[in-house]
């Protein structure tokens, strides 16, 4: 995501009718729009939905700059989806309305059997474009009109666990601090002559950024935990009025704040991959899996307690939704399945990450579960996108491989960070 897009997806303090609505209503609105996007199929219904969602956006006073951003984003989406579906639509029956490359054209025509624009593909492309526009517009409306912390408060009122909500609140609170800190570390590295001129340079840079960033975050987490506890947060198991003393998800305040730092890191770690390596066609699954699994496994390596995967994965998903896309429970099973599979893996082993082999297996498991669930459940039933079995097989393999590599890297980093942190005298 580009810097301008970050800016566009940010809460803006205003007093419009949409800003004044309670966050609960906006959560209900997000859920309703998300479900309608999935169940509506005809272009006319989706067009009406999109028009309604756009109207709500205008009531939220998005401002000229944001409208311009939305217009360009929407145009790009519509053109890309519409064009690709019109040309590559593969379902039958299909009616060719225009020939781009005839089947007797040398090489390309003979190889592909001709390239045509199909009427059914154009309609399908239009439907998919409208879905994406509606989802994007809803997300912008909710995000610009609701302060993330108020969204979290609403989730608490809706009976989300207190400690889980605290983690999300802290992630929101500390996101700008973490950004600033990582910028300063990158600057310090550049002042010391480290240059990013190749993929190797970028990977080296990540290594050098990670350790000071995490060690500093752990130090800050400790102070923030002190400050929260001395203002009666009562989340710490050691605190006499701590409300949770044992069982699953038994974290103290320091651990909860540390988890929130890792949620931010998961959120931030995928950005360079979204902009660079993650855009490499076909291989993006591999490159996308590496950083996110790496950060997840550093967290598991540093806080090896039951519930850590659940807190990090589900926390990250919810954080992304609050910050960027609006609350959409249709994606929650995705996070729940990912976290339960890993929690179960560690439960059966009876140990957390204690070797590269364990990190490799857990990573491969994560990648397999996540991508199989995506291609077999999420894509067809939520996004109405269908993939060939061979494609699913290759992408799942690449996802599992990327997660295994990320898992091992995360384990390695966790060892290094533990060592460095122990030396830092805290």
């Amino acid at each position: 995501m580009k810097r301008e897009e970050w800016f566009q997806m940010k809460y803006e303090h205003k007093n419009t009718v949409i800003h004044r609505l309670s966050p609960e209503i906006k959560i209900a609105y997000s859920i309703a729009v998300s479900i309608l996007i999935v169940i509506l199929n005809s272009p006319r219904e989706l067009f009406l939905l999109t028009a309604a969602v756009l109207l709500v956006l205008f009531l939220a006073g998005p401002g000229l700059q944001r409208i311009r951003f939305l217009f360009f984003a929407v145009t790009a989406v519509v053109l890309a989806v519409f064009a690709s579906q019109a040309v590559f639509y593969s379902f039958e029956p299909r009616t060719a309305v225009f020939t781009l490359v005839p089947d007797d054209f040398p090489v390309v025509g003979r190889f592909t059997g001709g390239i045509y624009i199909y009427r059914e593909g154009m309609i399908y492309g239009l439907v998919q474009s409208l879905r994406l526009i509606a989802a994007l517009t809803m997300a912008v409306t909710v995000v610009i009109s609701t302060h993330p912390a108020h969204m979290v408060e609403a989730l608490v009122r809706l009976r989300f666990p207190r400690s889980f909500s605290f983690v999300i609140t802290m992630s929101i609170r500390f996101l700008p601090l973490m950004f600033e800190q990582s910028k300063r570390i990158v600057l310090a590295l550049r002042m010391r002559g480290v240059k990013i001129r190749s993929i190797g340079g970028a990977l080296r840079m990540i290594r050098f950024i990670f350790i000071p960033l995490v060690v500093n975050s752990l130090r800050q987490a400790k102070i923030a935990a002190f400050a929260a506890e001395t203002r009666g947060a009562g989340l710490d198991k050691n605190s006499p009025d701590g409300r949770r003393k044992s069982g699953f998800c038994n974290f103290n305040t320091f651990e909860l704040i540390t988890i929130s730092f890792f949620i931010i890191l998961m959120y931030v770690s995928i950005v360079p991959f979204k902009m660079g390596l993650g855009r490499i066609p076909f291989l993006y699954t591999f490159f996308f899996s590496v950083p996110i699994t790496c950060v997840l496994f550093i967290g598991i390596g540093l806080i090896p307690k039951p519930g850590i995967v659940f807190f990090m994965v589900c926390g990250h998903r919810l954080f992304m939704q609050i910050m960027l896309t609006g609350i959409n429970p249709l994606w929650w099973p995705y996070a729940l399945i990912e976290s339960s599979s890993l929690e179960l893996f560690f439960l059966i082993r009876g140990r957390f990450l204690d070797s590269y082999g364990a990190a490799f297996s857990a990573g491969a498991l994560r990648g397999s579960v996540v991508y199989l669930y995506f291609y077999l459940v999420s894509a067809p039933y939520i996004w109405h996108q269908f993939y060939a079995p061979w494609y699913i097989g290759i992408q799942t393999f690449l996802g599992a491989a990327g997660s295994a590599v990320g898992g091992m890297a995360g384990y390695r980093f966790a060892l290094l960070i533990r060592k460095t942190y122990a030396r830092s005298g805290l």
């Binding site: 303090h13 302060h147 993330p148 912390a149 108020h150 609140t169 802290m170 609170r173 700008p176 601090l177 800190q181 300063r184 570390i185 600057l187 310090a188 590295l189 550049r190 002042m191 010391r192 002559g193 480290v194 240059k195 050098f208 350790i211 000071p212 060690v215 500093n216 130090r219 800050q220 102070i223 923030a224 935990a225 002190f226 400050a227 929260a228 506890e229 001395t230 203002r231 009666g232 947060a233 009562g234 710490d236 050691n238 605190s239 006499p240 009025d241 701590g242 103290n252 305040t253 320091f254 460095t420 942190y421 122990a422 030396r423 830092s424 005298g425």
Partner: protein
């Protein structure tokens, strides 16, 4: 009344105690300063007084602590908060809610106070800290000084018997410190018990009723080290050449947020210059412009003869040290840390000579994180010097360092200056500016309001 008897405390996983047999009496309404070098045990003592130790730190605590008849070690979190509230150094880590009002209410709500009491307490706390007009403002949008006042308001709302301040002015500029001082004066006049630990307590002299000096974990009655009398220590070597020339430069982070408009400034080779001003006055932006990290929208900046350069172009010619050493250390040993930069630039580096020259030989194989904060900052500094820069820029490098540490660091800078290197630094600590700077440039919202050469 606070009574401490035979207090000894050892952190987890360490062998030697940080506090040893501390005996202490503090009367109600007293204003107490805790002084001592980094690592003397100042913060640890404060943490013991409000129950952070042992509740959150663990470790081994023996002896007795009595705060107004209560033992913090045996109190519940919310009771501790209303007995001894603490304000830390970094205000950003003490703010939890989106708006000023909500953040002040955070502790009261956690303590289970009824809504009507919460709103009265919040209003009272905001009034006392001068934040009423900012009550509905986003906490993120406050200045550092305002954020620290917000942290105090959050504690104030819990109506504690004792206020503890753990180096709370470290991140504040002059204006922030003045605002902070007004609150302390008010607390004193209201008869509150205040215990404050500070590296630079000069501005508090008129408030202090009692001083507790800590050295290596024990209370001692000797004098703390005073500021070195001789200043500056090294004669400057100023040549006629220009190190940095800023010609009519304009810069803003956005069209609306202009920082500099038509800025003209020259730094001669061999000058030792301090750039001072409140947070947001443009000091760091000026340094980033000089270093090519940012580019001026209009005008030109020339560094050692180079124009239209980037950071990569001048890396090695100019060195930049900033506040937090932990964001600038990357290697596993001090020796590797010093060699890190030269290695990236393909330069030869005699690490042995640097270790020897700066008295770091005994730390050669030690992980930089194992050193004290002052030593870590020195390692970061030496690592930059190992790249042989002609211009050295230090952006508030002494923040959070005790007196002995900043004197060592700035002495190193002064020694380099005497060899002809150009040194430009910023600091909120006017003692340092007075002692070392030959030229002082004061910035106010991007404008140079004064530029003095000192005799």
């Amino acid at each position: 009344m606070i009574k401490v008897r035979r207090l000894t405390y050892t952190y987890p996983y360490t062998e030697s105690p940080v506090l040893k047999n501390i005996d202490l009496d503090i009367n109600d309404g007293e204003f107490v300063l805790i002084e001592g070098r980094s690592g003397a045990g100042k913060s640890t003592l404060l943490y013991c007084l409000n129950g952070i130790i042992p509740h959150l730190y663990g470790g081994n605590l023996t002896g007795e602590i009595d705060v107004n008849g209560l033992n913090p070690a045996a109190l519940a979190g919310s009771r501790v908060a209303s007995t001894a509230g603490i304000v830390f150094q970094n205000p950003d880590l003490q703010i939890f809610m989106p708006t000023v009002r909500e953040d002040v209410a955070f502790g009261c709500k956690n303590s289970g106070l009824p809504e009507s009491t919460v709103s009265v307490r919040v209003h009272e706390a905001l009034t006392r800290t001068g934040l009423v007009h900012l009550a509905d403002k986003a906490a993120d949008e406050l200045s550092n000084g305002q954020k620290q006042r917000l942290a105090i308001a959050g504690v104030y709302a819990l109506a504690p018997d004792v206020f503890l301040f753990d180096e709370s002015t470290t991140d504040l500029d002059e204006k922030g410190k003045k605002e902070f001082l007004i609150i302390l004066e008010r607390l004193k006049s209201e008869g509150a018990t205040v215990i404050i630990s500070e590296h630079e307590p000069g501005y508090l002299e008129h408030l202090i009723d009692k001083k507790i000096s800590l050295k290596d974990g024990v209370i001692f009655s000797g004098e703390q080290e005073s500021l070195p009398a001789e200043m500056p220590r090294h004669p400057p070597v100023i040549s006629s050449g220009t190190a940095v020339r800023i010609k009519n430069a304009s810069f803003g982070y956005s069209r609306r947020q202009k920082i500099f408009t038509g800025l003209n400034l020259d730094f001669r080779k061999g000058e030792f210059t301090a750039v001072v001003g409140d947070n947001g006055s443009g000091k760091t932006t000026l340094f980033k412009l000089i270093l090519g990290i940012l580019r001026p929208g209009k005008g030109e900046i020339e560094l050692e003869g180079a124009v239209r350069y980037t950071l990569d172009d001048i890396c090695g010619k100019a060195g930049f040290l900033f506040q937090n050493p932990d964001e600038q250390l990357f290697a596993a040993t001090v020796e590797d840390e010093i060699a890190f930069g030269p290695r990236q630039l393909g330069m030869q580096c005699d690490t042995e000579a640097y270790l020897e020259a700066y008295g770091m030989r005994q730390y050669r194989g030690v992980h930089p994180y194992q050193l004290s904060c002052g030593e870590r900052q020195r390692v970061a500094f030496i690592s930059i010097l190992a790249m042989c820069p002609e211009i050295i820029i230090l952006d508030e490098p002494t923040t959070g360092l005790d007196r002995a540490s900043w004197v060592r660091l700035m002495d190193t800078a002064a020694a380099l200056n005497s060899q002809g290197k150009t040194v430009i630094f910023s600091s909120h600590n006017m003692n340092i500016v007075e002692m070392y700077a030959r030229r002082v440039i004061r910035l106010e919202t991007g404008r140079v309001v004064s530029d003095e050469i000192r005799a």
